[in-house]
Structure formats: C-alpha cells, structure tokens
Amino acid sequence: MAVVQAQLHEERPLSFWRRYIFSLDHKVIGIQYLVTSMAMALVGGLLAMLVRFALGWPEASGLTPASYMSAVTMHGTIMTFFVLSTALTGGFGNFLIPLQIGARDMAYPFLNMVSYWLYPVSLVVLLASYFVPGGPASAGWTAYPPLSVQGGTGQALWLISLAILIIAFLFGSLNYITTVLQLRTKGMSLLRMPLTVWGLFITAILSLLSFPMLLAASIMLLFDLLGGTSFFLPFNIVIDGGQVTAAGGDPLLYQHLFWFLGHPEVYILILPAMGMVSDIMANNARRPIFGYKTMVLSMAAIAVLSFLVWGHHMFVSGMHPLLGTAFMATTLVIAIPSAIKTFHWLATLWRGKLRFTPQMLFSIGFVSVFVTGGLTGLVLGSPALDMYVHDTYFVVAHFHFVMASASLFGIFAGLYHWFPKMFGRKMNERLGRIHFWIALPATYATFFPMHFAGIGGMMRRIYSIEFYDYLARFEGLNQFITIAAFIMGAAHMLFLVNFVWSLKYGERAEANPWQATTLEWETPSPPPHGNFGEELPEVHRWAYDYSVPGATTDYIPQTVSPRPVAAPGP
C-alpha cells in the first residue's frame, strides 16, 4: 500500500495549482494553515491593540462603546478559533503527524484539503461582517443569548462562520486520529511516539468529541436569531424594545452547551503546545524527557477531566450551588496532572546541557507563563472566591497567561524549531532571541498587572472606567498595561520580519540541524512529496535517546537499531 502510494506520488509532475494551492500534500496543507493563521493573528493582534488603546485613552482611540465591544468580540473569536486552534492542530498537526510517525501522508488527503479550504471560507464569512449594516458580532466570543439574539447580520455571519470552521476541525480531527492509529511505520508503537504526536492525537480526540456540541449550539442560536425559535429565550422578555412572547427556552442551556466545548477548547489550545515544548526541551537539553509515560498519562488525564469541569464558568450564573461544589472538585483535580507536567519539564532541564536556541527560550517561557497562569486557576476554581473575581480582569489575566500566551509561546517555539524542515532554511537565531527577550517581559508587564485590576474589582469587557468612582485608581495602571501591550505587539512583529526574511535569506539547513532523534529529521529539508524515499523508515527505539551513556554521539535517531549501540534505550 505504502509503496503504491509512493509511486503515485512520484509518477506525474503536478501543476502549480495542484502542488501549492489545492494540494493534497499534508506538508503544504500544514504550511497553508500556518500562514493563514499568521495572517489572522495580525488581524486579531491589531484588534487587541485597539482594545488596549481604548482602555488607556478611550477618546483618543476613536472607538465608540459599540465598536469597542465588536473589537473585543472579534479579538477573542479570531485568536481562539482562527489563530491558535488552526495553527496548532491544522498547522503543526498536518505538518508533523505523518512525518513523525513515518507515514507518506495523512490517511485521507482529499478530506484534508477540504478541511483546509473550509477555513478561508469561514474567515471570509467572518470578516464580511465588517461590511454589513450594524457591523460584526459584539456579544463577546461566548455569544451568550439573549444578548446575541439582539445582534443582527454580523452575529448571524459569526455563527455561520464558526459552524463552517467547526466542520473543518472535525474533518481534520478524523484525519489525525485515523492517521495516528493506522499509518504508523514499522516499530512505531504508541509508546514510542514523540510527545508532540501524543499531544496532537489527544487533542484530535478532544476536538472530535467536543466541537459537535458547539456546532449544535451555534445552529440552535442561529435559529433563535433568524428563525423565530426560542431555544434560549425565556418567556416574556423584551428584545430591542419589542416583546418576545412565543418563548419558553432557557439562556443557561446555551451556557452549558457552550462551555461543554469551551473548556475542552482551552486544552485543545494547550495540549499540542505541551507536546511540542516537551520535545523541543529534550532536544535542546540533550536529555530524555523526564517521565515520558507519566507525561502521556497526564495529558490523557487532562483530556478526560476537561469534559467534567465546564460548570466552573457558571458559578454565578444561577446554577444550583451543589453543582458548583462538584465542578469545583473536578476543576481542582486538573491541577494535579498540570503540576506533574511542570515538574517534569523542570526535571528535564535538571542536569541537562542546555542550548539556548530561540525555540528553547520560548519553551522555557512557555513553562514560566503556564505556571503563572495555572496558579490563579486555583482561585477561580474555588466558587466562593470566583464569586468575587469572576468576570473581572483577574480572569483576563488568568487565561491570557495559561492559555493565550502559553499556547502562543508554544507556537513560536514550534515555528523556530521546524522552520528548517518546512522551508530548508534556518530562521535568524539572534533576531529570534531578541524577540524572546522583549516578548517575555512585555507579556508579564501586560498581563500580570491585570490581576491587580481584577482584585480591585475592575470588570472585563467595559469600554471605560469613568462611570465608577472606585475604578478611578486604575487609570494609570491601564495606561501602563496598554504601553506594555504595544511593546509586546511590536516584539511579535520581529518574528514576522524574521520569518519572511529567512524564507529567502536564511542560512541553508541540512536534514537534521538540531541533532534530533525523531523521524522528520531523517528526511531532506524540506522533505519531498511522499516524505521518505523508496522505503519507509523502521523505528527501533523511543524518541528520547539523548546522551545515552557509552554511545558515540549524544543522540541516537529512532531509526538506529539497538545492536551497534552499547546501552539500549528502554
């Protein structure tokens, strides 16, 4: 089968269109996902800068309260679904899974192409909402009804766009799961897979099980918005000055459906990053990842638990208090696998021989921001404390550390690391380090003070603090955060410059520039169509044989059979 596939791949030269635009090659599709996500990150980042501008200097920013709300909504939507999700699963998932398990392509290449092309369609629908009367959606990225049902065409486009993107995610997830289960090369047992593949595999399962719930919720909401149904509209409420009487639904039902996806979603954004960071750390510390099996188990535990915690978003929604205690217990349990993973990353650095490549710096930064953001989760997971800080800047600080920044740092680490494999050139290391040395402190300067605003009682999603006397003390703090955010945004522009410059002028990369063990480094950079030569590689060991005592080199690729090496890997 594999041989036939290889022949098919090599027999006829493909036209430009089939090779780069409507490509079936997982590597091209992965890069398409990454580049599109980077373009969307520019949009989402620009919106973030606008939002911060308004919070520092409301009048000067030129935003009205209404356009501020749509900027907040679109920033959250774009960053969560159209940047982080697509870059991690669509981008790295596509590029890395077949290469790292020794397959020639995904199990369903055509489905894969369809999955990618649904993504630009969905984002055109989303961005089209800037050109309709009433502007884009402005009910927050969570789109709680009945507020979202007050929205107009923009909200409808938002829902349609999300539904299309979810279908793309589902196609992708099916593909990743099947590929990992069916197309591993000889010797690649599940417990020899690199943690990157484990992270992407578990994420695909999470996506497949949780996204349908949001698909259902968004279609129901679309019917409430356009079709006059009332799944989420209670009896006798006033919408836009008019009475809605044909109702009897429940707004809390939507919140349950939304967060049943919404919480797994944040793990969809962090698990692939965790996997990639683990592998990059091992490679740059020249040491096996500490506690490989425990790392796999804790990722699986996080995935299972993520389905049981959604209620912690709803402690003050009017849900029964007893339910709150149950969700509290499950939420705090998630801290255990998270703590295990953190200790294992630290233990991987311990007695290593660290190389400070940009990808290593961003992996170290990942651990730092993940810990900082994870710890405040214990405050928010405790309902009595959440009652005070819920919907304040404390929450904004929490998830921008643990989910947004950690995930973004993971993506940066992955891009610096795999750029040579993708394009055959290295990114500029010096510029990469400067990027990190500005980005890390700027990230802290932006998000750490938000804890204080939150503890002081500043609500999130407010256009201005001027209507509350008790918030006047945060004026200077907000301006400081805004300036820090601008610096952070500028630092990330360095990455973009580096990326574009390196495509053309970067130092040429050999097949294995980082002396890494995993299979993708056994192929030329960039790998040809079909990835591997005549024969698929055979795997003889796990992915972490770094610094094996007695071996001639400080790394042993997974394809090296045990015999010539003195000390065997596990």
Binding site: P146, V316, G318, I336, L349, K353, F356, D391, Y468
Partner: protein, 273 residues
C-alpha cells in the same frame, strides 16, 4: 557527529542572561504585588457573611505566591546552572518513581484541603438567608437597575414585562400585594440587618456586583436568582454590572446606600408607592 552546532562559551552567557531575565521578572512580580497590596487591592469588606472569602483568598494567595516564587526561581536556576559548558554529557536519568509519587501526592493533598475549605465556604455563602432578612427584588435591564421593595405587607407584587410603561419601569401589578410596594432607582439597606436580593432581568443577562460585598450574581431573564448579605458599614457604595449586556454595559451603574433603620424608614416613606 559532524560539527558541534553550539559554542559552549556563548551558551553559558546566554544561560546567564536568560536566568537573570527570569529572576528580574520574578522580582518585579513580587515587588508589584507588594505595592498592589497597598494601592490596588480589594476595597474594604462590608459584608459580615463574606469574611471567610477574604480569609481563604489571603491563605490561597500566600500559598500561590510561594509556589510561584519557588518554581520561577528554580526555572531560572536550572537555566543558569545547566547551560552547555562544552565538556561532559547530559544525564540520561529520566525516571524516578519516588520523586514522581512525591510531586503527585503533595499537590493532591493540598488540593483536597482547598476543596474542603472552598466547598464548605461556598455552601455557607450560598445557603438560605435567615428568616428575618429583608427582601428586595432587583430588576436589571439595558442599562440600569430597578429596586422593588415589598412595603408594609412584606409581599412583593407580581411584575410583568408586558405591563412596562412610563411610570412603571418593571411592569408592577398595582392590584393586590403590589399596592403598597416601593419601586426605586437606588438600593437602600439597613446596617447590620441581613438582606435577601431576588435578582431577575427584563431582557438579557446582567450581573449584580458590589466589590465591597464580595458578591456577584447573574440576573437571568426568566429566572429569579437569590443572594443575601449583611452590610456592616453605613455609606454609599457602587453597584456594577459584571456581565456583558451590550454597548452600554460600561455605564450600567447604580448606588447602594447602607444606613440606619431610622434613615431607611424615612427614605422609604419619601418614595411614592
């Protein structure tokens, strides 16, 4: 293997610089928290039912600060200490059952303690209000609050959004128990007396938030949610909306006046029924 890609001297320098950066961020985080404790912390507590919230928050904050400092300092130290110095190999040790059990068990024990403390506190603050509590119905709408007091008969008249009209902002039925009700734009409560709020909304979801009470509860259309508190300090406090409710969300403020029984009765009498 071919050429070694790194120059040990420069890795050592890079490790030092990165460690210093991490430690500097850590120092600034601690210093800014100390500053925030004086200038930006939660406003003084005025709800005798919520003292446990502030206590648990303080305990947890100290614990989190300790873990934060410990982990970040260690991260910086490992970066500083284990830079590639050229000679020797990294350690191949990658498993240690005793260590793994220890760092699984320690957080597990801490989290069980936190769950028990936090769960008990939550059930206490969410428990039923005492029978002597005064009742006020709070009706939220885009973008303001209306407070509905039961009057001498201690019974709230029914409200219906369809009856909303000029002079009747919540659609109160003035026949029967609603005849003596008071409808006002401010929340007035008596110092030292428990108050039960019945929250609901006319249109979208809002959230009743008074930082000094450490209290936040969504007002959901089609539902009545209940919270209670006992104010301890006379004064005027701000009520905020904490749930996104539209473009005017940021200006949905109201006042809460905590006063003596006599002042409260005088205010109530001055309101038209």
């Amino acid at each position: 293997m071919s050429s070694h890609p790194t120059q040990p001297q420069s890795e050592k320098r890079l490790g030092r610089a990165t460690a210093l950066l991490i430690w500097l961020i850590l120092a600034l985080a601690v210093a800014s928290s100390a500053y925030a404790l004086r200038h930006w912390w939660s406003p003084p507590l005025i709800n005798s039912e919520a003292a446990g919230i502030d206590r648990l928050f303080s305990v947890l904050w100290i614990l989190l600060a300790a873990v934060f400092v410990g982990v970040q300092a260690l991260l910086g130290y490992f970066v500083f200490r284990y830079a590639d110095r050229g000679e020797g190999r990294a350690s191949y040790e990658h498993e240690n059952l005793r260590l793994e059990i220890a760092w699984t068990a320690l957080p597990a024990v801490l989290l069980v303690v936190l769950t028990v403390l936090g769960g008990g506190l939550w059930l206490r603050v969410q428990g039923a209000a005492p029978p002597e509590a005064a009742t006020v119905q709070v009706v939220a709408q885009q973008f303001g609050w209306t407070f509905h007091y039961p009057g001498p008969d201690d019974r709230l008249g029914p409200i219906r959004p369809m009856d909303v009209a000029v002079g009747n902002p919540i659609g109160l039925d003035r026949e029967g128990p609603g005849a003596d009700d008071v409808v006002a734009g401010e929340l007035h409560v008596v110092v030292g007396q428990p108050v039960r709020l019945l929250l609901t909304s006319r249109d979208v979801i809002h959230s009743f938030y008074v930082p000094e009470l450490r209290l936040k509860q969504d007002a959901v259309p089609g539902r009545v949610t209940e919270v209670w508190f006992t104010p301890t300090q006379p004064g005027v406090y701000e009520i905020a909306c904490a749930e996104l409710c539209g473009a005017g969300h940021y200006l949905m403020a109201a006042r809460m006046v905590v006063e003596t029984e006599a002042e409260y009765q005088a205010w109530l009498a001055s309101q038209n029924r």
